[in-house]
């Protein structure tokens, strides 16, 4: 696959990658940097496989969608790893900057936010989330359960007050 084909394939994913990054780090510049770092890490590791891939012209629409999803998951794998670590390091600064909306969501741990977003925003299955985050099945289920409970519970308490 040529470089321009890969860029064309990835271009429609920019928005999604950025959205995922802001889930982990609610700061414009940091989120942008996270997308670039994850992409770079992926490109360095998978360069040969990408270049050996079929030309975009020879792919059917369905194949293009499948390829796009494959690369999206690949980049998300790196984003999960880098983003969770970076989010923990930046936690204090993020508290100071503090996004006024979604305080409860950003109050959750980075791994919980990651799993919640992959499941409910990006509609990945539990198996796919296991693959992307390298978390075991029980941990994914646990994080989904905790995230759901904490978000809804906090909302219900807010309504009661």
């Amino acid at each position: 696959m040529k470089r321009k084909d890969f860029y064309q394939l990835l271009h429609p994913l920019t928005d999604k990658l950025y959205r995922m990054a802001t889930t982990l780090i609610p700061d414009d510049l940091q989120a942008e940097q996270l997308v670039i770092d994850s992409l770079n890490a992926y490109l360095i590791k998978e360069k040969n496989k990408i270049l050996a891939g079929r030309e975009l012209d020879s792919l059917s629409k369905k194949d293009i969608q499948l390829q796009r999803r494959f690369y999206f998951k690949g980049i998300l794998r790196y984003m999960s790893e880098i983003g969770v670590r970076r989010s923990s390091q930046l936690a204090d600064q993020m508290k100071l900057a503090g996004p006024s909306n979604f305080k409860t969501f950003y109050g959750l741990g980075p791994k919980v936010r990651l799993v919640m977003s992959l499941r409910y925003d990006f509609q990945f299955t539990v198996e796919e989330i296991e693959d992307i985050t390298t978390m075991p099945h029980y941990e994914v289920i646990e994080k989904l359960h905790n995230g759901r409970f904490l978000l809804l519970n906090d909302f219900n308490q807010g309504v009661q007050l």
Partner: protein, 107 residues
């Protein structure tokens, strides 16, 4: 007695609704759950309720949209990364020309 048994069964499947919607049930559990729903259409309202709850849950999560300057800046950085890191080592003069040409037309 029959009513109590029905409640136990109902509650057993109620606990599986979220797992079903999350796709975390095993294939056996999923088949069992779907068979139960087919034979108990009234149970579908409970599934719908949970589905609504999950839709609402999404509104408690951010869905940040990029501003135009961010989109432009990110796009150009991604392009730069792809063109720099996916560069094939030129094996001969023709490859060199091909790479330069590709870089030039992608500007």
């Amino acid at each position: 007695m029959i009513e109590t048994n029905k409640n136990i069964v109902d509650s057993k499947f109620q606990k599986k609704i979220l797992g079903y919607l999350d796709g975390s049930l095993s294939s056996e559990d999923k088949s069992e759950f779907e068979a139960y729903v087919r034979t108990h259409p009234e149970f579908e309202t409970q599934i719908q309720k949970k589905e609504d709850e999950l839709t609402f849950l999404k509104s408690l999560m951010p869905a940040t949209l990029m501003t135009k300057p961010t989109a432009e800046s990110l796009d150009s950085e991604m392009k730069l990364s792809i063109f720099n890191l996916l560069k094939e080592e030129p094996r001969n003069f023709i490859d060199k020309v091909k790479n330069s040409w590709e870089e030039w037309i992608s500007r």
